[in-house]
């Protein structure tokens, strides 16, 4: 008995008791901390679009950090946001599986999608759980025709962007004394390019342009020489291209090599025309190229900070970063309005309120009955002096359009 008493000394007893008390108190301490709300980011982190996924993640992480540093979601007692990244692997059915995974991991809301096909299956998977889904930059008009109450699109649709592109093209051309009369359309044969070509063929003649040729090519394309030789013989004033990054770079470089110099190159959602990667690597080919694309408000100081963050990560800036930064800001505001992480409440908050648009030039974002942000607006950019400058609309413009670029 004495041995036992000696071995359990008063000090040991105190230590054990203290540890026990701390353990028992731990749940209380945990409860005292602010809860976290998980936000899913569906992006292609591997596969053909991996670079876009990386850029989007930088923007989303920046926004999450900013929101958490400012005290989290105030309506939820300062709840911190936690980012869950779902890798869509640049294909549609992996997009659905990644969305299922985000749902299983407890995401309260999902943002992203990137490409229309992936956004299509991802939103469909989210619809099974009424999981709120805000699309970042997929443009297909068909996405918002499905009457899914959980799906919202932050960015402009293809037809919204095409309207802006045509309106600005007329403005630019009129200002130059109608320098462009003939147009050639060069497009990839996928969703993006074919849709654009069809629309341009229908609308350009009404606006006084003559479409001299429409040339399609597959993606990936290995050689653009034949396309460019055809353009050389046609001598169009304006070329309207629509392809993804690699094909655009190949096309612009081949134009340069073959010394084909149209008065202007005017892209809609040009894969490379709004990417600093292209501008930095092929400055001569990029100079003067105009684009209508998703683009952050250049006058917003956060835009510069995001550009620096992308540079620090060893990457080249493109629209994915500002648009995903902003879509996370919208998601955070939706949580504030909903005052809960309940899905029904978030969906209702998204459909009924107006939101600040982060650094996108959308003013107040407002989602209509189909879920489309009615105030979404693409910007007109032009590569001038190795920099991507906004040229339209005037309130965001950093420079005047230079057209004819080679005149």
């Amino acid at each position: 008995m004495k041995t036992l008493m000696n071995s359990v000394s008063r000090r040991t007893l105190l230590q054990t008791g203290g540890a026990l008390a701390a353990t028992l108190a731990a749940p209380g301490l945990v409860r005292a901390q602010a809860p976290t709300v998980k936000i899913g980011l569906l992006q292609p982190m591997t596969g053909a679009f991996a670079n876009d996924g990386d850029l989007a993640k930088i923007g989303a992480e920046y926004a999450i950090k900013e929101i958490n540093d400012a005290g989290g979601i105030k309506a939820l007692g300062g709840a911190k946001l936690e980012l869950l990244v779902g890798d869509s692997r640049s294909n549609a059915e992996a997009g659905a599986q990644a969305t299922e995974q985000l749902q299983a991991d407890g995401a309260a809301i999902v943002v992203g999608g990137f490409a229309s096909g992936i956004a299509m299956t991802g939103t469909q998977a989210a619809a099974r759980y009424e999981l709120p889904f805000i699309i970042d930059c997929a443009v297909s008009d068909a996405l918002m025709t499905r009457n899914l109450k959980n799906v919202f699109r932050f960015n402009p649709s293809f037809s919204m962007a095409a309207d802006v592109a045509l309106k600005n093209l007329v403005l630019i051309n009129d200002a130059s004394g109608k320098a462009a009369k003939t147009v050639a359309i060069v497009h990839e044969d996928g969703l993006l390019g074919s849709g654009l070509a069809k629309l341009m063929q229908a609308r350009l003649p009404e606006l006084g342009f003559e479409v001299v040729e429409t040339i399609s090519h597959p993606t990936p394309a290995r050689d653009m020489n034949n396309v460019v030789l055809r353009l050389r013989s046609l001598q169009p004033d304006l070329i309207i291209p629509s392809h993804y990054f690699n094909e655009f770079v190949l096309f612009a470089r081949t134009l340069q090599q073959q010394r084909v110099k149209p008065k202007g190159i005017y892209a809609l959602f040009g894969g490379a025309a709004s990417s600093y990667k292209f501008v930095s690597e092929f400055p001569e080919a990029a100079e003067g190229v105009m684009d209508v694309n998703h683009w952050g408000d250049p006058k917003n100081p956060t835009n510069d900070k995001l550009m620096a963050a992308v540079k620090d990560a060893g990457k080249f800036y493109a629209y994915n970063t500002p648009i995903n930064y902003s879509v996370i800001q919208v998601a955070a505001q939706a949580l504030e309005f909903a005052k809960s992480a309940d899905r029904g409440a978030i969906n209702e908050a998204l459909s009924k309120n107006e939101f600040d648009s982060g650094i996108m030039p959308y003013g107040k974002s407002k989602f209509d009955a189909t879920g489309q942000n009615v105030n979404a607006l693409p910007l007109n950019t032009q590569v001038q002096g190795g920099q991507i400058k906004v040229i339209y609309p005037d309130q965001f413009a950093q420079a005047k359009p230079k057209f004819p670029a080679n005149g």
């Binding site: 991996a50 659905a96 299509m120 299956t121």
Partner: protein, 328 residues
């Protein structure tokens, strides 16, 4: 391991999956299981032709896509019931199979030439589907969300999974029938040596035609079911080379020319992908690297597929001679 024992094991495994699904699985696991069954069915189709007939196709996407597009167009453009769409999809897929088979086998194509011609047919169909308006062009097509049995869509996806399991079970029985039938014997004979088979009086053209038609029908059924689950299809999903590769990978890794091979292969490949993904932490793509390494090891050490490797182990334990390597 007898053939019946293999069949019973496969059935027991599917029954286990079905029970698991009924008891309750998280959505992401159920989604994975659904995709596994779709790939298993596609691989079962490939196995009929590539595994038993030795006619390795690189273009089963041609059948998968035809099934998928047929049921989608019938439902969305013509408002026809999904089940009728499914039957028509299978029929048209089989017809495309017969057509490709007729053109290739009449020209006496086999081996790499047959593989390349099937790949070319799938590519032609992909480009056509990408440019025609009635296939939705590059925008693809959507099947409207209508949760009902008659629309072959279910709010509770466990039922859809069970339907898939039933089709895979039918595929297993069909494969077992093939092994026991005279048709199967002729098919295996022409795989081993088509000239010898012909010399013995086997009408090899007819047998090959029957095999490709049957194979195409099963694969197009998988295409129809794919659409009913994902409700979206475009030319790259339907006719892209990914599904041709999934089909032959699953069958070869599992064990080509065996009853359970395609099922084993699809469960292993897709399951492995998910498992490595969950252990890969935050590094994107590392799971694909691990997955690739495992695949290389699998092919290096189990050339007859996992099913063949297990059977050889079993034989070695029983002191029986190992099976001869399959020619695929």
């Amino acid at each position: 391991m007898t053939k019946n024992f293999e069949l019973i094991l496969a059935l027991a495994f599917l029954a286990l999956l079905a029970v698991l699904a009924l008891v309750g699985l998280p959505g992401n696991i159920l989604n994975l299981f659904i995709f596994m069954m779709i790939v298993a069915l596609t691989a079962q189709g490939w196995n009929m032709l590539g595994g038993y007939g030795g006619l390795s196709s690189f273009g089963h996407a041609a059948f998968f896509g035809t099934g998928a597009y047929t049921t989608t167009i019938l439902q969305t453009t013509f408002g026809i019931n999904a089940w009728i769409g499914l039957v028509c999809g299978v029929a048209l897929g089989a017809l495309v199979g017969a057509l490709i088979g007729f053109l290739s086998f009449r020209a006496g194509l086999k081996g790499s030439y047959f593989a390349l011609i099937t790949l070319a047919f799938a590519e032609v169909l992909r480009i056509l589907a990408n440019s025609w308006d009635f296939t939705g062009g590059a925008s693809g097509m959507m099947v409207s969300l209508k949760n009902s049995f008659w629309d072959l869509q279910f709010a509770d996806r466990r039922y859809f999974f069970l339907i898939l399991v039933v089709f895979v079970v039918l595929g297993l029985f069909l494969t077992r029938w093939l092994e026991r039938s005279a048709f199967g014997a002729y098919l295996i004979a022409l795989r081993e040596n088509d000239q010898a088979a012909q010399a013995l009086g086997v009408d090899i053209f007819r047998i090959k035609m029957q095999a490709i038609t049957l194979s195409a029908a099963i694969t197009s059924l998988a295409g129809c079911l794919y659409v009913q689950n994902f409700l979206f299809i475009d030319a790259n999903v339907a006719y892209g080379s990914w599904i041709s590769i999934e089909a032959l990978f699953a069958a070869i890794v599992g064990g080509a020319g065996t009853i359970a091979g395609p099922l084993i292969g699809s469960v292993l490949l897709l399951g492995l992908g998910e498992i490595t993904k969950s252990f890969s932490g935050g590094i994107p793509g590392i799971d694909l690297v691990v997955f690739g390494i495992i695949l290389v090891l699998c092919v290096a050490f189990a050339p007859n597929g996992v099913r063949g490797y297990v059977a050889d182990l079993y034989r070695r334990r029983m002191n029986r001679p190992p099976s001869s390597p399959k020619i695929v």
